[in-house]
């Protein structure tokens, strides 16, 4: 007989698996995959607030990721600040940029917002590539040797794993709370029908702007985490289109607009990327684009709601079969 675990039990199991993962798989290779999974899950969950819940598909979220990534390394390079101290600066800059983009584009309907996000992200990438202060095309480096824990420069991946996990936990909690409150109801209403939402008194532009700002703040934090972990940032790894596309794909694969969709997407995509890199070495780097393209086609054609939606439809069927058996 098939038994379907209740929601609470599934949640405890997920938390336990995430907490114990580094001990169950102590090999540095797996821990590296674990950290990459968490980073992808944080980035996609952050995108999910505006792209999934509010239905405002940004294809340029790398602009917030990149600002978050550059801030700690730039302030370290210029003033010797510990990277930790400049993370809030990156968040503030990202929120300001989000408001700057959202104010004009949310007045328009249709795909203008998506197009504007791509354009701005690309402009910033090109600009950073020629700006000497931020290292131009070469980029910036973080502290080679830690001066203290506040430099967030650790030898192994274990410390990063738990820092990333804590941020993911905070983000999921915030998203959960948003979903329960008026703000979350408004986001879902806007996604379904802006016109109807307006007629019910929903301040559509302000709500979208708030969602974008919140999403930008967490995406920026994800960028900062990436930069302190790798100790290096350049225009392509910060602002590249692939960074943005990965957030969209991860969220859409698992289920955009659901709390755990981005986690499911990251759980599938990150090991897949890692496997492709291992099997094909440097020659497999272009394979990522092919995988992304294939996933976009499959999701759009067969499962627009993502894998979690598929699972939700399958559970009642499995339950019925279980009862019949």
């Amino acid at each position: 007989m098939i038994k379907i675990a209740p929601k609470g039990a599934g949640l405890c199991l997920l938390a336990a698996a995430l907490l114990l993962f580094p001990f169950l798989f102590p090999d540095p290779f797996y821990q590296d995959i674990g950290v990459a999974f968490l980073l992808a899950a944080i980035s996609a969950s952050a995108w999910n607030i505006v792209g999934g819940y509010a239905g405002q598909v940004s294809v340029g979220h790398a602009m917030f990721f990149g600002l978050g990534a550059y801030a700690p390394l730039l302030f370290y390079t210029l003033f010797g600040w510990p990277p930790l101290a400049a993370i809030p600066v990156g968040i503030l800059l990202s929120v300001a940029l989000a408001v700057l983009i959202g104010l004009p584009t949310f007045r328009l309907s249709g795909h203008y917002f998506s197009m504007a996000t791509i354009a701005v992200a690309e402009l910033i990438r090109i600009f950073f590539g020629t700006w000497a202060l931020v290292g131009g095309a070469i980029g910036l480096q973080g502290p080679a040797v830690a001066r203290g824990w506040w430099d967030l420069t650790f030898r192994g991946d274990l410390a990063y794993y738990y820092i990333f996990l804590a941020v993911l936990g905070l983000l999921l909690f915030v998203t959960y709370e948003v979903g329960r409150r008026r703000f979350g109801f408004y986001l879902r209403a806007i996604k379904a029908s802006e016109r109807a939402a307006r007629s019910l008194g929903v301040p559509v532009r302000l709500t979208k702007l708030k969602a974008l700002a919140l999403s930008a703040a967490f995406t920026s934090a994800a960028g900062s985490l990436y930069a302190v972990k790798t100790g290096f940032i350049d225009p392509d790894s910060g602002f590249g289109i692939l960074v943005s596309v990965q957030m969209v794909i991860v969220a859409a694969l698992g289920g955009a607009g659901t709390l755990f969709g981005p986690l499911v997407g990251a759980l599938i995509l990150v090991p897949l990327q890692s496997a492709a890199n291992t099997w094909f070495g440097g020659g497999g780097s272009g394979l990522t684009f092919i995988i992304y393209g294939g996933i976009i086609v499959l999701i759009a054609r067969f499962e627009p709601g993502g894998l979690l939606d598929l699972w939700r439809r399958l559970v009642p069927r499995l339950r019925r079969r279980a009862h019949a058996a």
Partner: protein, 248 residues
Amino acid sequence: MLLEAKSVAKSFGSFWAVAGADLNVEEGEIIGLIGPNGAGKSTFFNCLAGDTLPTAGRILFNGVDLTRASPEAHARAGIGRTFQVPATFEDMSVLDNVMVGAFLRHPHRNDAREQARRIVELTGLKPDQSGRSLGTPGRKRLGIARALATEPRLLLLDEALAGLTPSELREAIALARRIHESGVTIVIVEHIMEVIMTLARRVLVFNQGHVVASGTPEEVVRDEAVIEAYLGRGARRPPLTPPPAGEH
């Protein structure tokens, strides 16, 4: 006066969809807007709801000028509306759909839920049913419930009862009566004459962007201009038949 629309006009290029229409609504009335397809009643209706910006004219609600105000501002001022094609929030349950409206006056979740539950009960819907699974009658009812949750003083019903079977129609008319009895003023655009003749105390007839007649349902159905609007010039037979006496 609850609502005053003065010389409201709306043009699309050189075409005047509404060419200067007036409407005064007193608190507690039920007013019907009728007219052939393309007469301009929906455009006029959208101007009243803030969905369409009038080219000319003024719209005052409770003495406040809402002519250029957004739909959100209309809702805040106390004007609720439904849509001809119900814009259901499909991924949300019936209760959650209604809660979106209830949040306007009740920012806290529990208060909004409480208010939404009352409205769902009044409209005879199932709170846990998903929006996606509702049929046309359910969606129309949900549209009304959502608008009611904003606690409007004036409810604009845009063909909210179209596409219903006769028994569903009777239920929907009874619901509209209950809403009216609770103190809500109603302006209704409807093609189904049974609804207009049964509910409305005053009717405005639109044709080619103008109000061509107004009065009680009995008066307008005998009006020459109304007959001409529906059947064309030269027609003599009344197009609209009032229901038998006693049904009002």
